[in-house]
């Protein structure tokens, strides 16, 4: 009887904890680890693989922006990949609806359509982003990155910066 009671309490606690954790990570904050060097030097700022640190950067993602879907130039966002819904990518917004963007390869100028945004990695040489897949719907965005929380020597705020050459016209 005692063990049954104990197991019941344990599973009840796990269930409650899971519910609360899931709610908080859906609506308020979550922590994700950034893989790959497409956002270097903002995240994973190692230049080549030989200097690769042991851990990837962990970042804090806030979900409050999903209530209104209001974003600004330079926001770093987490979004669901349009080509594979199981993958999540971290990139910086460089264009919002109505902006004119110059396509890098053929010197065409594209207008970002309504409800979409233009995302690019900070490390433009090694980034798979809007330059190859085009503008992405804002509805795919799953949160905004605000802070780096791990490793300890890189803890800090992620700034809403945008390099001059990438500014839309």
């Amino acid at each position: 009887m005692g063990t049954g009671n104990f197991l019941w309490n344990l599973s009840k606690n796990y269930f409650t904890f899971g519910l609360i954790g899931l709610t908080v990570s859906d609506r308020y904050f979550s922590i994700v680890s950034v893989q790959g060097t497409s956002m270097s030097p903002t995240f994973n700022s190692h230049v080549d693989n030989s200097k690769r640190p042991l851990t990837d950067d962990r970042v804090l993602v806030e979900k409050f922006c999903l209530e209104k879907y209001k974003f600004f130039h330079g926001d770093v966002v987490v979004f669901c990949s349009p080509t594979n819904h199981r993958e999540k990518h971290v990139k910086r917004i460089t264009g919002l609806p109505g902006d004119w963007i110059s396509a890098p390869h053929n010197y065409d100028v594209i207008v970002v359509p309504e409800g979409h945004c233009w995302v690019e990695g900070d490390n433009s040489a090694l980034s798979f982003d809007s330059r190859s897949i085009g503008p992405i719907p804002l509805g795919l965005i799953r949160g905004r990155v605000t802070h780096i929380v791990w490793p300890p020597n890189r803890v800090g705020k992620v700034h809403r910066t945008i390099s001059q050459e990438r500014l839309p016209f």
């Binding site: 409650t16 519910l19 609360i20 899931l22 709610t23 859906d26 609506r27 209104k68 879907y69 979004f79 669901c80 990949s81 349009p82 080509t83 594979n84 819904h85 359509p113 309504e114 409800g115 979409h116 992405i136 719907p137 804002l138 509805g139 795919l140 965005i141």
Partner: protein, 167 residues
């Protein structure tokens, strides 16, 4: 002095009860959120785009959110999709093609019989309203990323004469 101690202990127990009550309430809200986002939620749909399957004025439907998460959405399903044009809005349409499928459609059915065939790219789906004359869907917006699918409609609650699965 004893009176004061008594008052303090009374206050203490009251505070304890308030905390436990609000904790219970918070847990309830969490449960509500999780059922709403991961299991099933009611939606109200308006508009002519899904006639004759869904009525024009305010059908209440139940949408489940497990199938999109598990990748079990297939052609013929009525799905709830976050609009690619306005992320604050959701639209209800029918899936006609998954990634890799060839879809043939009439881009302008009211004025011509011209048809087009395209291949749905990787990770996308082709959605269309049942009423092709009054629907804004993949024919104008192009294929939709799978990540925008939020739920699969499986049950109609209102109006009562159509209560049941979607025909």
């Amino acid at each position: 002095m004893r009176n004061l101690l008594h008052r303090i202990s009374e206050l203490k127990s009251a505070a304890k009860e308030a905390v436990s009550k609000s904790l219970l309430f918070a847990k309830f809200l969490c449960l509500l959120h999780v059922t709403d986002t991961y299991l099933c939620s009611p939606i109200i749909v308006y508009g002519p785009s899904m006639l004759p399957t869904l009525n024009m004025a305010g059908d209440v439907l139940l949408a489940e959110h497990l199938s999109p998460l598990l990748g079990k959405v297939g052609p013929g399903d009525v799905v709830l999709v976050r609009s690619p044009e306005n992320p604050r809005k959701s639209i209800t349409k029918r899936v006609l093609g998954m990634e890799g499928d060839s879809v043939t459609f009439l881009p302008d059915p009211a004025n011509s019989d011209r048809s087009l065939t395209i291949r749905v790219p990787k990770g996308h789906v082709w959605i269309q309203g049942d009423n092709i004359y009054a629907s804004r869907d993949s024919r104008q917006l192009g294929p939709i990323p799978y990540g925008l699918i939020e739920g699969k409609v499986f049950w109609r609650v209102w109006p009562p004469r159509d209560f049941g699965t979607l025909g």
